[in-house]
Symmetry: D5
Subunit: 154 residues, 10 copies
């Protein structure tokens, strides 16, 4: 049975403060225990919030991230802190969604990654943003994210 | 088998224009064929729209009306036209919902009536309005309206 | 284990024609095997259709009937034929729904009966009709019918 | 922590044959470990099948049983075998449903019991049967069974 | 048709900053247009967030508020800002939920009010908090909030 | 982190009137902050309404738009106003749906765009319209719109 | 904005009788306003009924039709009347489903068409029929019909 | 309109006994009325039951069969009897599922066939079996079976 | 705004081992910040597991606990550890469910408490256990737990 | 009808202890009865639990395994015991999920296998792991696993 090498981690297992913003947040990684195997890891973050850069009012989103690791896995506690660090950050929906994904791509150099960002409605019309780094590697199994469409009332 | 007396109707079976506003709309009624029987009639109107009186922007609602007729039934085509007549009318959610119900109460003098108005969200927080004329008559069967709660995304 | 007395039935187990109308349909009954026991029998008929008396166009409904037998049970094949006999009959929604229930009340003299008729939308606004003969007998267990509300699209 | 007295059981933990019919099936009971406490036990049996006494064809039902024990609990393996024993037994829906409940009432003399039997449709119209021994004891908590209504297709 | 008196409002129709905390937030009210009528107003706020007072990490909740107005209605934009003002406030789930409700009770002196706060899971076990000021006024119609239970995965 | 260039916008952050019709509505655009990246933006508009050109009666639709930006993003407030501008415009379902999409194609010259228009039923039979400008660009991730099918009642 | 040419229609906007059978029903068509554009039109007809040719008993189905127009659109009122004309027509499920589709193919000569017919259960086992004229044109977007599978009870 | 040739059938329209086992069951077929047309026929059988060959206890399954006919259609009443004939037959899940499909392949020599067998859980872990005769014919439309995954409780 | 008194807690904010069994687990409590207020606190624990006392095999349950505090609130981390402490404990479903509830009653002396335990199926028939300490206090608002019924497959 | 060769099995039909860990668990296999047929077998295990290697606290997952047998089938009781053997084993989510799959690949040398592991949330963000051994064999039918996405609350 596989043992994960956690020797390089600094955040896990200790109390940590909320980072002041995404630039301050430290994303950590561990070596994948199955580097020759093309599997998908999915994170579902229903608790994302940032600020509107025009009005300073809060925005909310449900975010799902899928990736196929190459050498690295993202450590999940540091990912949580990174996502929470947008709490007082102002950003447009499209930019914010793509920026999160690109930060992970920089950290992990994954074989493939995608993000689905499902924003709560403003003005009655929600925005969703979908991005992937390209077609998934051949032979990878990738279920759809299955988030229900917005439907107003009734 | 019961025959409905439709001799007093003017709108049914002919082409009709959209009334200019709720004051102009003509609500019609027919005698109930079962006046001694306490049954409930439910109308579900998922296509309600009015205007915000402050901004002039459209508002939308899913509306459900339940009533126990006494002598009169509302004619359903005139009800549809009455509801559509709010299309260019400005009104607050709470007022608009109660006003619709009271107009029907005036027309029908029903044994009992209630309205559920489920408004689409503005600013992320939808408003629902629920009103009934009092406790339902004894022995009446009244299923709940069962409209799903708003849940944002995810 | 209880044996039902079916000696009075004429329709069961033989080919039968569709009755020409509700007046022609023969509703049959059998003695209840548990006459001292207050149980509920529910029939769900998602296949009801009649004609609009004004336009001759078809109407459709999903109908649910609950009753507490006294001495008699309705025989289910004759009930099916009775319901199908409305196929070429013209009737208003409210009248048709109550008439079905009253016909069963006449046949069975049940301790209690209710009908829920959930009509398909015409003009965007469906009508539901709910009737019961009065409050259910004390100590009877009666689940709600749980039919989902109409919600248009989306 | 409570220990159940299983000294009187004969079926549990050994291989058992399917009983030839409900009369042959042996229902077993154990003393309740909380005899002064009015709690509800619910069994959900989605695998019930019997035969039609007129045609010999199989019938199917989803059955839910709720009871408030007095001195005895029904042993669940014997309950399963009892229910499976209807596999080659011919019975009408209403009779079969009530008979199951009464057999349990005889065995357990519970403070209260109810059965919901949700039969698969024959001729397009399913039958449900609901029975309870009377109003539930005061202060007992009893969620509804929540089985979805039949809805045909679409 | 009813006209709402909005003469006492200061926030509506102008750009407003996010209040620094719940003590700083200004809740506003308007006179009810139907003061003799016992109707229910429901607000659904799926975008609530506060901080854990022990760890400083974000907490999230879906909040539903129902009330029966007496003389006053809460103005919905000020309610939104009040709820958003908890963004950087530390509070326990139980306290935070009850405090929101009590603040509204102080402002509105409603005939009746309740709050349902459905908190996102921490440690795998979510907490819900349900409070009402007492039994609802007689004859008021109050649908349940219908929020789905938490179910983990699968 | 990306900053969106909003210098060319005229509508955002100020009170705006409802345009008299789609020809009068001003759709605005901003440069995409990620022009080399093939991501999808989805707008869900459950509040669409227009008029029937034959009868003048209101029609309603739930509309979902997906596109892959090239140089431009549509500004969402102007999109909302554009959609609301159909409120007093008469159009057939098929024409109206395709026209909305083509207007966006003209404004944005996107790499790809599709529209799903889910119209509320008239005469019992709803119409859906689905169009895309062609096959999506290679390697783009595009979830299906997942709008539930219409199912009448029951 | 596109204007539909309705000059060739005879049924729209006037009262029409129910056709005696599918051979008598008149299907009408209008020129497509977007003949160079490969879009899909979907009709959902939850109100289909015909007769069993062996027993004369009613059958019911939920029917969904998708097509890509070439030069012609089917006029929706005539489609409704055509579907209703099967009301007194005897046909097997497989034949009836394919015949409807082929009649539309003859009228419209569409680029592509498919039909899904979801028949209500008889004998406990519903039949679905799925047919398309071939693979859809390249680059057309075609959501699945998403009709829920039959699941009996429970 | 197509007429099905039923001259070769022996079971339809007469009372039939339950076959003693799958070897005794007679599957019948009729010529397809659309032999040049590649359509799919789906049967959904939520009422399948057999016996465990090791313990003699009942097993249950929900079974869905899709096929593309060549010259023959299976007659649905004989299919129902064939499936019911497993009632007293002992078989492993995998074997039973594939054997049903192969029996139909032998009878019909279809262009293509698949079976999905969704078995009720034993030991907490249900088994599903999925088989098709190969890739479906080109240009055939084949919706997925859409049976919900098992999820235990909660 | 209310401050919770946490001075008596020993587990919160430090690493803790899994208790060896329910007798070893330490349940902690804090004073309620709203002792004069009758609110409900709900815990949902979808991750419960214990052992079968007869076979030593694992059992699983989804558990929901509602209570109305008097002087004390249960501290949620200690509750989680208490529930996890059943991991290697053997107990019957009925006993285990009631024992959990009674342990909380002993700790908290609440005004009222109930437990719903929804056990995963064994032998195809799941058991649910429902208990409350008596009727809830007057004027308390208590939503039902809304856990979906078990339904096997299909 | 096929007979499965069970001569090599040691666990089936006898009482067995829970293995101490995955290394101790004995996975058994039987020869496939349809070795030339490419069918899929799916196991759904909603009752998986292991320990966190860092904290010793329990983790939970819902696991679905699909495979196409070559010469061997896994015996389901031994699979259940193997999965339960992780109960006191510490492992990271990604490692644990892939290790289960690889153990089955070693035992069965299947034509193809995949695993979907849906872990309960820790810190608000659940992890899913998806792996398959490569693209499925041509012509195999493989429904998606259809597990609903996590959605927090509301
Ligand atoms: Ca999918
Ligand atoms: Ca209800
Ligand atoms: Ca209920
Ligand atoms: Ca809607
Ligand atoms: Ca309930
Ligand atoms: Ca309710
Ligand atoms: Ca999909
Ligand atoms: Ca239906
Ligand atoms: Ca799909
Ligand atoms: Ca069904
Ligand atoms: Ca699909
Ligand atoms: Ca679960
Ligand atoms: Ca409820
Ligand atoms: Ca089932
Ligand atoms: Ca699928
Ligand atoms: Ca949510």
């Amino acid at each position: 049975m596989t043992k994960t090498d956690v020797s390089g981690l600094s955040l896990l297992g200790q109390k940590t403060d909320l980072p002041a913003g995404p630039e301050e947040a430290v994303l950590e990684r561990v070596p994948s225990g199955h580097q020759g195997t093309n599997f998908v890891v999915r994170f579902t973050a229903p608790e994302f919030t940032s600020l509107c850069p025009m009005t300073g009012q809060p925005d909310f989103a449900h975010i799902v991230i899928d990736y196929v690791p190459d050498e690295w896995l993202v450590e999940s506690k540091s990912l949580k802190l990174f996502l929470h660090s947008f709490r007082n950050h102002g950003a447009f929906h499209e930019d914010c969604s793509i920026d999160i994904a690109k930060r992970l791509v920089d950290l992990l150099a994954p074989k493939w990654l995608r993000i689905g960002a499902y924003w709560y409605p403003r003005g009655g019309i929600p925005i969703d943003v979908f991005w992937q780094t390209g077609a998934p590697p051949e032979g990878v199994w990738l279920p759809d994210q299955g988030v229900q469409p917005y439907r107003g009332r009734g």
